[in-house]
Amino acid sequence: MPNLPRLSTRQLPDAASAEGLLAGRGVGPEAPVGQQALARLLEIAASPAIDWELADEAAAVAAFARATSLAGCRSAGARPGIVPAARSLARLALALTACVTALGGTAAVAGTLPAPIQELAHVTFGAPAPHHGVPAPRPAGGSSRQPGHQGIQAKDQPGLQEARVQSQKALPDGSAQDHQKVPIRRARSGGQAGHQEINQAGRPARHPEASHDHPAGR
């Protein structure tokens, strides 16, 4: 403190006296006035609790009771060693489900799934119909039922039957020509949907755009 007068070193506590004061041992009666006043000051600063300092005891104890009861509920309701493992398993299962869904959905849209699964995806959310390879030539008017293709039958599809009749009329000689594609308007769509190409066998042509309008999916 610059404005304080210089005091003799005897007035100020040395290291030993300072440690004694800090430890609460005070000073002797022979100590200088300044040190005695300092000892009294520290004694008062560390005096026993005053009533107003203890006024919040009830609130503190109530908060303690709430905190311990909450902690008790947590410890009783959850087993700490098991919960993290269960959470890890749940997260793993969720991640696997997400991966399978993403990969399966991609494969379904690409049409690369096995036929039964692709058919299910086709019926469920409009994925492309399963591929069955290039059909073998068959006589005109033959049954549209194909082995291994039980889910789609021309007789069950009025639009396909009508399309077949129209395609046969469109041919001048009425002969069956596989792989000749004739644009028709789908009967069930009422003319609102686009054209669909079907071949002479009465099956929809394998065309990426037309495949999404396959009636079997309707």
């Binding site: 004061l21 006035v33 008062i44 600063a45 009533d51 107003w52 005891e57 303690f64 902690a71």
Partner: protein, 208 residues
């Protein structure tokens, strides 16, 4: 209710505010950790007054709120605490100090003053503040006089005298070396002694 300004100048100090449990502390701590409210109340009555005095110096009027948060954290973590009474006090004051630091960070552009009372007392002459403390002999005034020291010195002195912690515990709380803590405390005491000597000398001169 007895207030500090009602205390007579020669109010006897039967015991210090710190360290009254001593030998009973382990049992009290164990019971409190198991949820015994009476045991927790004993811990609180023992340690709250010095904590509040320390926090009043650091955080001013926010001291009681900070102390409540500290005790709530203690209640949550008491079952995991290991140590004796000095360690418990060290933990308690460390929590309080961290809370004050958080409070200051939260305040951001408007940092909390070390103590409102100390700031107001710092404006008049130092001799007047020291004389007031001597005349009233009140806890509040004594702490206010200590708080006029540089903050590092004042904090160290309060932790040693009011909280009753040794140099090692204080060093851990304030994050300094024990030697630096010792030097800061001694410097603060010498400054206080100089102020009180001047004040006492003037008072004796007036009375003569």
């Amino acid at each position: 209710m007895l207030r500090y300004w009602d205390l007579p100048p020669d109010w006897p100090d039967a015991r210090s505010v710190a360290g009254v449990l001593e030998a009973e502390f382990p049992g009290v701590l164990r019971a409190a950790a198991l949820g015994d409210e009476r045991a927790f109340a004993r811990l609180w009555r023992d340690a709250h007054p010095p904590l509040l005095r320390y926090l009043r110096m650091l955080a001013g009027d926010a001291a009681e709120d900070v102390a409540s948060e500290v005790w709530l954290e203690v209640a949550r973590k008491l079952a995991r605490f290991r140590g004796g009474e000095p360690e418990f006090r060290g933990w308690l004051f460390t929590l309080g100090r961290r809370r004050v630091i958080d409070l200051r960070r939260y305040a951001g552009r408007h940092p909390v003053r070390l103590t409102a009372d100390a700031g107001e007392l710092d404006r008049p002459a130092v001799e007047d503040t020291a004389a007031t403390a001597l005349e009233r002999l009140s806890t509040e005034a004594a702490l206010a006089l200590i708080a006029t020291l540089p903050s590092e010195q004042a904090e160290v002195i309060v932790l040693r005298v009011v909280a009753g912690l040794d140099v090692g515990h204080v060093a851990r709380i304030v994050g300094k070396r024990p030697g630096a803590v010792r030097v800061a405390a001694h410097r603060g005491l010498r400054t206080l002694a100089a102020r009180l000597s001047v004040s006492a000398g003037r008072a004796q001169g007036v009375t003569r």
